[in-house]
């Protein structure tokens, strides 16, 4: 198939992990590719690249989204937080700490997405039953099958009513 040539690029400004960042990109650059290829924020992972696995999950205005299905241009003016933006200096976010304490990962590839989804879940103030936690976390696949411990980490955060933001 022939590619049409669109020479124009756009200068955009993203609110990324608390700082304003400028970038010149083509319209078809996804938020995921912008994060990884232009800002070197490689914590956010590319798994399926089709919104099925959740490895690319980031927070936009406190809500978990699939960055692979979003165009970077369309996220201007919103507060974007990646896994790199969760810790306060050397202090891990409580969710990150809980994942360590519960040994909630094996290979670690899905972990940034799982953690961002957990923070999003805490912001939603949902997950009052084990079934609801499992349902609301079903957009994050773990191919190692570490679900049992991921669930424990998430459940502890929900029960302790930990604050999710940023």
């Amino acid at each position: 198939m022939e590619y049409k040539n669109y020479p124009e690029t756009h200068e955009i400004e993203l609110q990324l992990n608390g700082t304003s960042q400028k970038l010149t990109i083509s319209p078809w650059t996804t938020l995921l590719d912008a994060l990884r290829e232009y800002f070197q924020l490689t914590g956010t992972k590319k798994g399926c690249d089709h919104g099925q696995c959740g490895a690319c999950t980031v927070l936009v205005d406190g809500k978990a989204i699939n960055s692979c299905l979003s165009l970077a241009m369309m996220q201007q003016g919103k507060k974007i937080t990646t896994v790199e933006g969760l810790a306060q200096g050397e202090n891990l976010h409580p969710v990150q700490q809980a994942f360590i304490e519960h040994d909630a990962f094996q290979c670690g590839y899905c972990t940034p997405g799982q953690i961002c989804s957990t923070v999003g879940l805490l912001n939603m103030k949902k997950g009052n039953t084990p079934e609801e936690i499992r349902d609301l976390m079903s957009g994050n696949i773990c191919r190692c099958g570490a679900y049992a411990n991921i669930f424990k980490a998430v459940e502890e955060m929900v029960q302790k009513e930990v604050s999710g933001t940023p």
């Binding site: 083509s26 979003s70 369309m74 349902d135 957009g139």
Partner: protein, 328 residues
């Protein structure tokens, strides 16, 4: 995906005008969850995208007739968790929350949900014929793997199903779709919004070229007492429906005063037959009545091999959903 240009439009008039005047190969984009995915598979290859997120369609508001207006760019999540929707339209909330994942519901919009395209494997696979993707090329599902395909209202050109859960509830609730286009604005009843494939499966809806969805209106009557959204699928979360049922009842004692049943996963559009519903008003709400209803709603159902099981599954699911709604 292919290269394209993108405009962020500031008014509906500008959007509609640009959509018609620039190139014919335009698409509106809101949440993008389905469109971007299809573009990555090269099923959709637009030259130009019109981002409509800056338009003023991002709120849920009350209507003068006590109904509720869902702005086209309100997200599915914000709709399902909205206080008024939870209280007066729990059927809609349950349907939305049974679909997709948290991340997708946080991105996907109400207007976009109506515009979802089928999940037929052959529609996605550009190496195979598909009349919906490439009119005239043939239907690979007819003689191929068709476990997820239609049993009602299909044609020899296409046996794809509409994948939405939200639309199934909207159909049961008699929602109205507000659209605007070059020749002005109009309202489309939800049952007339999507179409059966017939000879033109490439057309999912009855929208005119360039027409833009601005809102979805819910009438006052929300069936908040007797309702059920039953979704039958291969796993209990994050999967499309094999069969889904939106059931709503109004009951006086044990007499049916109103009955609405809409099916997902079985046809090219949410499957609802108001003329059948009319026949059951003032009948007794019993399992036997519901079985008779189910027979009439799926009369003429036809399997294509792998999906034959859906006929019995649909019948049983209708009865179960109605009994659950009744017992609420």
């Amino acid at each position: 995906m292919n290269n394209f240009s993108l405009t962020q439009v500031d008014s509906a008039e500008e959007a509609v005008k640009t959509a018609r005047l620039s190139t014919e190969n335009n698409r509106y984009i809101a949440g993008g969850t389905n469109l971007i995915d299809l573009m990555k598979y090269r099923v959709e290859n637009p030259d130009h995208l019109l981002d409509i997120n800056r338009l003023n369609f991002s709120e849920i508001s009350s209507l003068p007739d006590n109904g509720l207006r869902l702005g086209a760019t309100v997200t599915n999540a914000d709709t399902a968790y909205h206080q008024e929707v939870q209280k007066n339209y729990p059927l809609l909330a349950k349907a939305i929350l049974s679909g997709a994942s948290t991340q997708l519901r946080n991105m996907a919009t109400d207007g976009g949900n109506l515009m979802q395209r089928t999940r037929c494997y052959y529609f996605y696979d550009t190496a195979t014929p598909c009349n919906k993707r490439e009119p005239g090329s043939g239907c690979s599902a007819l003689e191929g793997f068709n476990r997820i395909h239609a049993i009602l209202g299909a044609s020899e050109k296409c046996i794809a199903t509409h994948p939405s859960d939200m639309c199934v509830a909207l159909a049961a609730l008699d929602a109205t779709v507000q659209v605007t286009g070059e020749s002005g604005s109009r309202s489309i009843p939800i049952l007339e919004f999507h179409r059966l494939p017939g000879d033109h499966p490439e057309k999912d809806t009855n929208l005119e070229p360039g027409e833009l969805i601005t809102a979805i209106d819910l009438p006052e009557k929300g069936f908040s007492q007797h309702f059920e959204y039953l979704k039958v699928r291969d796993r209990p979360s994050y999967a499309f429906a094999l069969v889904s049922v939106a059931a709503a009842l109004e009951i006086d004692g044990s007499t049916i005063k109103d009955i609405r049943v809409s099916l997902g996963g079985v046809a090219h559009k949410p499957w609802r037959l108001p003329e059948v519903e009319q026949q059951f008003i003032d009948q007794q709400a019993t399992p036997q009545t519901f079985e008779a209803f189910a027979e009439k709603l799926i009369a003429g159902a036809k399997g294509y091999g792998d999906n034959d099981f859906k006929i019995k599954l649909a019948k049983k699911s209708i009865v179960r959903a109605l009994l659950t709604a009744l017992e609420k």
